[in-house]
């Protein structure tokens, strides 16, 4: 085990080269619904139990299934009212289980990136060949079922090994969502030296962290989103910032929560200086203009 990560250099926030977003926008906003499939009876992983209750954990399973049966479409209808761009963190087995959801996203010009095969199959304990196989298969599923090249990766259930980022970069990925160290894109050093970047995702604004871990009230989540936006928008006048809103249809789409999210989105989208972008567009813009100079 290493005492620290060595993916990125020291780069004090207010002393970096200025980032300019297209059209002189201040803040790049991307929406990241996690479309996931959790298995009822996954094989055991030596380091993490898939479910807190014994088989069949219909409480945990049913909660996630709600996201696909009810939440996904409800979230789509809200997002349809705004110019936001969406990049999906995808349990890629969903391409096979529920292709109708994938199709609905494609009709909205959504980007898909890999969130592993299932959110009940963890990287913990995999050797490098196994993890490479898992990541490569997930990228292949996206290519086959969406026609898109998989440019981004968020590890399934945020389960990582020391090799996860190296492997994804070697397999042709452009960006990782697994690091939470910054509000701007960061060049990431991997063992192959590939052009590779971290695009800010967020745990602080992640609905599951907010609702399940921190047990925040729905309307307060809306206020947190606005406050997060306000500061990044203000700072973005000097150098472009990134705001990501990571969502889970099984959390944010509950009828007692969705209005608070919509109200925050309404507020954010009322600002002219927002670049509505996909994660891929943010990564490419940064890689093309700033990666070498950072």
């Amino acid at each position: 085990m290493k005492p620290a990560l060595d993916y990125y250099e020291d780069a004090p926030y207010f002393q970096r080269p200025r980032i300019e977003w297209p059209g002189g926008k201040r803040l790049a906003l991307w929406i990241a619904p996690n479309l996931e499939f959790y298995e009822l009876d996954p094989p055991a992983n030596p380091q993490r139990a898939a479910w807190p209750r014994p088989f069949p954990d219909i409480d945990g399973y049913g909660t996630r299934d709600y996201g696909n049966r009810v939440g996904a479409e409800r979230l789509m209808r809200v997002l349809d009212g705004y110019p936001t761009r969406v990049s999906v963190s995808l349990s890629t087995a969903l391409c096979i289980h529920h292709p109708e959801i994938i199709e609905m996203g494609l009709n909205r010009d959504w980007e898909y990136f890999s969130h592993g095969i299932y959110n009940t199959r963890y990287a913990y304990g995999m050797d490098e060949a196994q993890e490479r196989e898992m990541i490569a298969e997930s990228m292949a599923l996206i290519a086959e079922h969406t026609g898109q090249h998989c440019d981004g990766y968020l590890a399934p259930a945020l389960t990582h090994t020391e090799s996860s980022l190296d492997l994804f970069a070697e397999l042709g990925g452009l960006y990782t969502c697994d690091l939470f160290h910054d509000d701007q894109p960061t060049p990431i050093r991997t063992r192959s030296g590939a052009r590779f970047v971290s695009v800010p995702y967020s745990l602080e604004m992640n609905d599951t962290i907010v609702y399940v871990v921190n047990k925040i009230e729905p309307r307060r989540y809306g206020e947190m989103l606005k406050a997060h936006f306000d500061r990044l928008y203000q700072e973005g006048a000097d150098s472009g910032t990134v705001m990501c809103i990571p969502l889970h249809p099984y959390q944010v789409s509950h009828p007692h929560r969705i209005a608070a999210f919509r109200d925050a989105l309404d507020y954010i989208c009322g600002h002219d200086g927002v670049w509505h972008a996909t994660a891929r567009e943010i990564a490419r813009h940064y890689l093309d203009r700033y990666w070498h100079g950072a």
Partner: protein
């Protein structure tokens, strides 16, 4: 270090679900469903009346709300029993003052221990739902089929002794074994409230026929919001209110919506919470919704 090769094999990766209990279906694609009375939004209130045993075994896990300290846990035992002695009577008075119907999910042990309460609930004519033997009688794989069948039939018969044979079932802690739906169907139950994966009733396959699954809005339960999340009573009312507003805005005659609200006599029946429950009941009364018993919800679902 590496994982067994089976960890990278996916034998149930196929179209639809990874089990055979129900087909995948998205809410917005459902066939038309009509509530009695024709209103687009239905609300169903379920009050849980529960007994938490002092000698908790905790198999296969300690039930949420159960005993916590070393034996004998007088504080949690009696605090939960408060619901059966005081809380439920406050809840009944609040329901009657609001003029709203409710159904009651009752542990068999409550019927045994509180005969006056059992007779009162039966005499109201509201729907009574079997809620297992007690809160430490969790349904799980370790029970075996015969024991689980006996538990289900005993809980059914305890209710049948004070009123009509129950049509509905709520497992303690919503915990099922892999056989629970089959045994419920075979014991004559028309619906179960355990699966939380939807907002409308749907058909759920068992080994000899089908049962209706009616999902409860677990994340709006009094216990979940106020005791698990530690949100205030006022916030709970706001959250349920926001849900009513949203579902009302989505509901249409061709695509109705449903709010299934579970509350617990030992939670909302506390003196400091009952006013919030009364506020919420007034909000529900103004919602323009039809108030349905779960069996009416199940019947409407079966026709869709």
């Amino acid at each position: 270090m590496s994982l067994d090769p089976s960890y990278l094999q996916y034998p149930k990766r196929r179209r639809g679900m990874d089990h055979d209990r129900y087909p995948f279906s998205m809410l917005h694609e459902r066939p038309p469903l009509r509530w009695p009375g024709g209103k687009p939004l239905a609300i169903s209130i379920v009050v849980a009346v529960e007994h938490f045993p002092l000698n908790q075994q905790g198999k296969p896990f300690k039930v949420p709300g159960g005993m916590t300290t070393a034996y004998p846990d007088l504080r949690h035992y009696s605090l939960r029993d408060y619901g059966n002695r005081v809380g439920i009577w406050r809840v009944l008075r609040a329901l009657d003052a609001a003029g709203l119907p409710s159904s009651f999910a009752i542990n068999a042990a409550v019927i045994d221990r509180y005969p006056t309460l059992a007779r009162t609930l039966a005499a109201r004519g509201d729907e009574l739902i079997a809620h297992g033997l007690h809160m430490d009688a969790l349904h799980h794989q370790g029970l075996g089929e015969n024991t689980e069948r006996d538990w289900i039939e005993s809980a059914r018969d305890a209710l049948a002794a004070i009123g009509p044979e129950p049509r509905g079932w709520l497992s303690p802690a919503k915990q099922q074994s892999a056989l629970t739906p089959d045994l419920l169907h075979e014991a004559g139950f028309a619906y179960m409230l355990d699966w939380v994966n939807d907002e409308l009733p749907y058909r759920f396959s068992t080994r000899k026929g089908s049962i209706t699954a009616i999902p409860l809005s677990t994340e709006l339960e009094d216990r979940f919001v106020m005791l698990n999340n530690l949100h205030s009573e006022q916030s709970w009312v706001t959250q349920v209110s926001d849900a009513i507003d949203w579902l009302g805005s989505e509901a249409s005659p061709s695509s109705p919506r449903l709010l299934m609200l579970l509350v617990h006599a030992w939670v909302v029946g506390q003196a400091h919470r009952i006013a919030a429950f009364e506020t919420l009941l007034a909000r529900i009364a103004r919602a323009g919704a039809c108030l349905l018993a779960p069996s009416a919800v199940a019947a409407a679902g079966a026709k869709s």
